[in-house]
Amino acid sequence: MTTRIYVPRDAAALSVGADDVATRIAAEAAARGDDIAIVRNGSRGMCWLEPLVEVETAEGRVAYGPVSVDDVARLFDAGILEGGADTLYLGPTEAIPYFARQQRLTFARCGVVDPLSIEDYRAHGGYEGLQRALSMAREEIVAEVTDSGLRGRGGAGFPTGIKWQTVLDAPAEPKYIVCNADEGDSGTFADRMLMEGDPFTLIEGMTMAGVAVGATVGYIYLRSEYPHAHRTLREAITTAREHGYLGPSVAGSAHPFDIEVRLGAGAYICGEETALLESLEGRRGLIRPRPPLPAVSGLFGQPTVVNNVLSLATVPVILERGAEAYREFGMGRSRGTQPVQLAGNVKRGGLIELAFGVTLRELIENYGGGTASGRPVRAVQVGGPLGAYFPDSLLDTPLDYEAIAAADGLLGHGGVVVFDDTVDLASQARFAMAFCAFESCGKCTPCRIGATRGVEVIDRIVAGEERTANLELLDDLNDLMTKASLCALGGLTPIPVRSALQHFPEDFSRPAPVATTG
C-alpha cells in the first residue's frame, strides 16, 4: 500500500530546505523499495518546526520536525512510514498543543490538503459555500457576509459586508474585485501561507464576491517577493478554470467570473488600497484622495471591492457554515477568528488562528513560549510597522479591534512582534519615522517632509539637544501627521512613535551618547 508523506511547499519550509528533504525522502524510499507518495502540502503554521514532515498512518497524520536532509535515513530506519518513534517525532499533528488549541476556520484546510488538487479541496468542503451562494440572491449573499460580522483583515477592520453592499448598490458597470495580496507588514505572512497552502479558498472567496456584487473580473495584486505564491495561484486559477469554477459560467451558473494575478510594484505603500489601484492601472503608486471610495469609483473609475486575502478567504467558510456559526466566535464587535502571526523574539513563532478575545500575554506565553533569548519581554508591537509598542502592563489587552484601539494601538493585519529587554524604544521610534520616510509615496506634505524631519528631531532628542523643545516639536509633528496626512501611512506613523514615548520615556532621556568623531 502506498504511504502518503507530506512535505510542505510553503516558502517558509522551502527556506529551511524542504525541497531537499522531499528529494531525499523520495530517494530513500526508492532505495528501500518503499511505496510512498509525497504530497507537497501547505504549512501548518508552526514555523519553528519546519520542515514539518507528516506521514499518513493508521492512526492518522503524524508529524516529525524540524526535519533536515541528514535526518531522513535515520527516520526511515526508525520506521517513519508507520509512525515510528524518533527524537523528531511530534505525535499526531493535530494533537500538537500549539495547533490543537487553535480555532481554524480560515486556515482549516491549509497544511491539510494538497494545495493544487481541486479534488482534495472539494473533499474538504471546498466549493460548498459557493454552491450555496449560487442558490441565493445577491442581496442575500451580501447580507450573510454582513451578518457574520466579518471585518477587513488587511488593517482597517472595515465591515466587509457593508463594503460589498456599497459596490452592489453602485449603478456603474463593470465592477471589479481586487484582492490585496501585497502583504507588506513586517513579520506577517498569513496571506502568503494561505495562498500557497490553500489557494482555492481565495479563488472561491473572490468568486463569491464577484457573484454577490455583480463583478465579472477579479485581480489579485500580489507582493512581488512571493514567487511561490505566484506560481501556486496561477496553477490553481488554471485548474479552477478547467473545472468550470472560473470562466463564462461559474459552476454552471449564469455568472461569469475570472481572475488575473498581477505582480505588485515592490513598495509598501502599494498595499494601501488606492495606491494599489493606481499601480494596477499602470501608474505610480500614489495615494488617491477619498472620496470617492474605491467601492464607488475604484479600478479604472469603476465600483470595486478591495479586500485583503484573509477577508476574502474567510467568506467560503461563512457561506458554508452560515453567518451565525461564524459570528459565534469572537467578542464585542470583533467576530470570528483572527489569524495572528507571532514573530520576533519568541521561541515558537507561527500562525495562530484564534477567536478574537485572546490576550497578548496568552499568545506570547501559551503559544510563543516566551522569548527566544530567555530574557524578559519588554515590548510587543501589534499590528505591523504602524502598530503601537505595548509594555508589559498592557499585555492583558484582548485581541479585539476596539480594545486595542482604546489602548492607542491597532490590530492591523494581525502581526505580533515580541522584543526582550534589550530593545531601545527610542531607536524603534526613530525607525518608525525612518520607515515612513522610506516608504512615503511623497504626495502629501506632512508625511513627505514630516517623516524626514521626525527622524531628525528624534535624533536631536536622543542627542540631548534642547530636549524639551524638541519633544514638544515632536509632539506637534505627531499631531500634524495624524490629523493632516492624506493616508494612513503618514497618519498612523505617530502611533508607534507616541507609544514608545508614552510607555518608554526613559529611552528618550538617557544621557547623550559620547560623540565618537570630531
Binding site: I269, E439, E456
Partner: protein, 947 residues
Amino acid sequence: MTLIREADLGTPAIKSSVLLTVEVDGKTVMVPEGTSVMRAAALTGVTVPKLCASDNLEPFGSCRLCLVEIEGRRGTPASCTTPVEEGMRVTTQTPDLASLRRGVMELYISDHPLDCLTCPANGDCELQDMAGAVGLREVRYGYDGANHLDAPVDDSNPYFDFDPSKCIVCSRCVRACDEVQGTFALNIMGRGFDSTVSAGGTAFVDSECVSCGACVQACPTSTLIEKSVVEQGQPEHSVVTTCAYCGVGCAFKAEMRGNEVIRMMPFKDGKANHGHSCVKGRFAWGYATHSERILSPMIRERITDPWREVSWEEAIGYAASEFKRLQAQYGRDAVGGITSSRCTNEETFLVQKLVRAGFGNNNVDTCARVCHSPTGYGLSATLGTSAGTQDFDSVEQADVVMVIGANPTDAHPVFASQLKRRLRGGARLIVIDPRRIDLVKMPHVQADYHLPLLPGTNVAVINALAHVVVTEGLVDEPYVAERCEPEAFERWRAFIAEERNSPEAVEGATGVPAADLRAAARLYATGGNAAIYYGLGVTEHSQGSTMVMGMANLAMATGNLGRPGVGVNPLRGQNNVQGSCDMGSFPHEFSGYRHVSNDGVRTMFEEAWDVGLETEPGLRIPNMFDAALDGTFKGMYIQGEDLVQSDPNTKHVTAALAAMECVVVHDLFLNETATYAHVFLPGSSFLEKDGTFTNAERRISRVRKAIPPKAGLADWEATMALSNALGYPMTYEHPSEIMDEIARLTPTFAGVSYEKLDRLGSIQWPCNDAAPEGTPVMHEHGFVRGQGLFMVTEYVPTDERTNDRFPLLLTTGRILTQYNVGAQTRRTPNVVWHGEDLLEIHPWDAENRGINDGDLVVVNSRTGETALRAKVSERMQPGVVYTTFHHPDTSANVVTTEFADWATDCPEYKVTAVQVSRTRQRSAWQTEYAATREATTRIAVPAETQP
C-alpha cells in the same frame, strides 16, 4: 491700469442640475452637486488656504493646507477633495486648523531657501502668500536638516527656468502638463522626500515638452518661471488682448511694466482658450522688438536702388502719386491691393475700402485665397454660411471626432489640447491624413482609425465614406427629410451609391484599405455626436471646394449639424483668416459675403461711402500676377503679406512683382516681397494697435493697444493716410468707428460694437437682433440657406501626377514652433526647435536613394527645385514626402505647382510630384535668390550720419 489677477476658486466648476445648499462659516450658498467644499467656500467669499489646488486642475489633495472642519464628521477633511453634501456646515477657521496649517507651512519652509527678497517671484508667489496667511513665524526644525537647496537650475528652455531648489512638489506642473496641455512631459521622480519634478529625466529642452507654458503658469512658486520675469522683474499692469498667431485666437493678458511687455499670460476668461496657450502666443512675441524691425518708412525708385528712409508724409505722398500715375497711364484697373489675414478686421476692411472706393476698382484679394477660400465656397453652397459651424467648446460634447487634413497638435495647439482632453474622456477618433500625425498615437490618445490616404484623393475618400452611409442604411432619414432639399438629396444619393464610389472601388486610388474605410464610416454615422475638424489638407487641392462640400454632405446625411458636439469645422491657419474673408477681401464680394454685382448691396455701400463702385469682380491674386506679366497690372499695395514666400510657384510670383512699377509693402520686416518693393511702410505689431480678430469659431475678440506704434502709425492709420493722399477721404478717430461702419453695412455684424465686446469679452457672429449676444452653434433651427443642399461631388484626380521622373508626392504643412512664413517666429528663440525646414521621407524611399538622416537633398518638381536637409521618418508613408514652408532660404513654394482649386483658385500646395536626390549644394535658384535679396535689401545710411 492695474495687474489683473484672476480669481482661483480652487477646483473646476461642475455641471449638474442638482443644487445643494451648504453653509460655510455661517454663509449659505447653493452649488451644483459634485462641487468641492473649497469651491463652495470660495463662492461665499471665504478663501481657504491652498497650494496644490487650482480651478483648472482636478483636485489632488497633497498640500494639506485646505483642511476644514465639517459638522458631524470626524477629523479635518481636505476641502479641495471633499464634495459638498446637502445641508453641510463647514468651518474654515479654528485654532486647531490654524495650528495644522502653520505646521504644514513650517515643514515646507524647512526645505526652502530663505531668499524671498531676491527671488524673481517675490510679490507673485503663493508660498509666500500662504506663509503670511497662516501666520508662520518660526521654523523650529531649523535649516540644517535634509533639503534640496543644492538642486541645480535647468535653464535649457529658451523661455523659462526650472529651479528645483524652490519646488514644493505640489505636482501642479505635472498635472497641468497632463490635464491642461495633454503632453505628459513631466513626472515626479523618486519617492517620499526624494520626490522631484522631472521632464522625463532629461533637460527641458530635450524633453517631450512643447513649451506651452501651462506648467509655468500653474507653479505656485518661482520654481518654474519665465526668463523674462527673472530678467526684468514683476509686471505692474495688464492689457487684455488676442494672440496674433493662429486661428484659435487665444486671449492673453499682456503683462506690462511701463511700455515694456514682461510676459504674455493666457487669460482665463478667454472663451477660445480658457486660460491655456501654446509656445507661440505665450512666449514667441519677442519679434515685436527685434532689431530687424523697420521703424521708418522707406522709398526707392528702382528695386536695385538702396532704400532711403523718409518721413511718413513723403512715403505716403510718393506711393499715392505713383498709384495715380499708373492709373492715369495704364488705366484704372492697373493697380490693386492685398489684405492680410494677420491684420485686424478694421484694417482689412479699410484696405478693401481703399481699393474699392479709392482705387475705384475691385482688385482686392487676400492671402486667405491660398488657404481657406474653398471653405467659404463649399460651406456656403451647401449650408449657407462661409464659416465653421461650432464653437470650440462644442468638442466637449462630441462622441466621435474626425480629423481630416489637419494637424491640430502643431497648428492649432490650444484647440488640440481641448480635443485631446475630450479624447481622453472617451470620445473616439478617426484621422484622415497621409501622414501619421501625432494625434494618431500619443500618450493617452490613440485613433480608432487612421486612413492614410494618398495626397490628392480626399474626395474619393469622403465619397466612399458617404457611400457606406447610404448603402448600409445609416442615413438619418428624418433629419434629411426635415432639413434638406429633397431633389438634391435624391440626386446625390443615387450618385454616391454608385459602385465606383464604394470603398473597394477607390481602394486602389486612395491607398486606404476598404475595410478600415467602412469601419470608420460606421463609427462616424453611428457613434453618437460626430464632429469633423479639417485643415488645409482639405482645402489646398484642385478639388478643395468639392471636398468641403463632400464633408458637408456627409454631415447632413448623418444628421451631424445644428447642435453642440457635431459640425463641420475648419481649423483656420492664421489669426484672422475668418475675419479677412468676412470683411470683403475677395474681389467679388463685400463684407458679409455679398456679391459686388448685387445692386441693392452695392448701392448701400455707394451711399455710405459716397462714391460710385465697380459692378464687376476684380482680379484675384493669380490674375494680378498674370496681368503684371502681360504688362497691364502695374502697382500693388500689400498689407502684412509675404506673397513671395507664401504663394505657389515662387519664380512666377517674383517675375510678376519685378514687372510692376509701384509695389508698396506694409509690414514689420523687410520680408521677401519687399525685395521687389518701391515703398516700404513700417507696420505695427498686434501689441501696438486697437482692433479685433475673428478666430476659426467666428469669435470676434478685441486686440488692445499695449504700447504705442513703434513706427508712429498703426496700420489702419497708414492706410487712412494713403487713402486721403489718393483723394478719397477717411477720417476715423479710432478703430471702434471702423467697426461701427462694418456693423452698419454688414447684417451678420449688425450687433457688434466695442462697447459690447468689452462687456461680453468676445462675440461669435452672426450677432444681430435675432442673436444679440452672438451665435456659438450655427444652423440650430434649420440651415442658414434654408434647406441644406446636397452637392454631387465627383472625384476628379488632380492633373499633378507622379511618373518616372517625379515618382514621389510632396505635401507641405507647418510645425508647432514656427508660424507660416516664419517672419515672426524665426525672429524668436523658437528657432532652437526648428532652425530650418526639413524634408521628411520614409526610410524605404530614403534608402532607395541612398539618403541618410541629415543629408542635404534636392527636391525637383516640374516647376522648380530647392535643396534642404532630409529627415528620415516613419511618420511618412512610402511614396510621400513632406516639408514645412517656414524658412525663406528653403522656399518650398519654388517647387509647388500652379494647379489650384477649380472654384476658388486656392493653390494645390498639398500635392506636387517630385523627385528627391542627394546633393552637395543648394539649388541654382537658391543661390541666385540669395544674391538678389542681398542686392535689393540695402538701406542707405542716412546723410547726416555719413562721415
